[in-house]
């Protein structure tokens, strides 16, 4: 598998570090951000293939962040992370261009399936 660039955005540092390491062990190239602003700065520095974005990050609303990401590059696929099954936000996220969502606590195998589907969609569109 070529190096797939992932960006993991969540304000829970221990969560992002552990999940990032698990994904790195599976040969993904992972960067992490703890806030929307940090994420946007990293995206501008290097475009990721897929972003895993917590909908409840401090500073900027998750949906607002998603819309900004899509404005920067509509081809970046976004998988939303939600801790509480917020149906309204998930629906709004999908309408705003998110590829998928996954609930916390995360099932790593389910996440990998979704990441790979997002990558396949991105590659097909290119």
């Amino acid at each position: 598998m070529p190096h797939m660039r992932l960006l993991l955005v969540d304000d829970e540092v221990e969560f992002t570090l552990a999940l990032a390491e698990r994904l790195q062990l599976r040969k993904y190239d992972v960067r992490t951000a703890g806030s929307a602003l940090e994420a946007l700065a990293l995206i501008k520095e290097q475009l990721p293939d897929v972003i895993i974005l917590d909908l409840k990050i401090p500073g900027m609303d998750g949906i607002e962040t998603l819309k900004t990401i899509k404005k920067i590059d509509p081809e970046i696929e976004v998988i939303m992370l939600t801790g509480h099954g917020d149906v309204k936000s998930v629906e709004e996220g999908i309408k705003s261009g998110a590829f998928e969502y996954i609930m916390k606590p995360v099932d790593i195998e389910e996440l990998i399936v979704k990441i790979n589907k997002a990558l396949a969609k991105k590659n097909k569109e290119q």
Binding site: E12, E14, F15, A18, R22, L25, K56, G83, P105, V106
Partner: protein, 221 residues
Amino acid sequence: MEHKFEEGLRLLQLHFIGKILAGFTHEIKNYLAIIKESAGLMEDLIKLGKASESDSGQNLEIIHSIEEQIEKANTLFRYLNRFAHRMDIQFATFNVNESLEELAALVTRFANQKKISIEKDFHEAIPPVYSNPSLLQFVVYSALEEKIRNLDKNSKIAIQTGVDENSVRIRIVPEGNFVQGEGDTTSISYKILEKIVMQLGGNILQESGRETLIMLPLTNS
């Protein structure tokens, strides 16, 4: 009129409890997510043969992270349990600092969403009050919620307690720029809070700079 007030108050209290439970479950899910990822990482390292003795530093770090999250979850459960039991009895003698400490822990998440920090500045030797602890928490929550809604990002709210000759004082002091908050039909009007605090034998003042001051009579006064 009185019946309408009581009915309205019950609805607002239900909304309050709902908000507290939503914040609590969200926090617990976060702790569980960290525990799951940390345990998963240990499993991955073992399966890949990377959890050898030479990596014991990292392994211990992961185990400590799990223990830390369990402790945080346990503390939050304790706060929620105390919060729930405060509703068992209407009036009791209690320590205001303790009831505010648990409320602050349960609402911090909402504030953090807007990058608003909640700081506690409690008078250490505060005497107990005889009052209704759950109603007091409801009033303080309402004042906090109003400030969180109307403050700009990167602000601060201080919860201060103090004491004078006859009363215990609770100040909720916002620091930061005020913006027009999003319309929230469930926000509590100041008149309702005033009525509740008066029923508790105290007083509430909305001061300049949008501070809220709540005064409760001391047990012996």
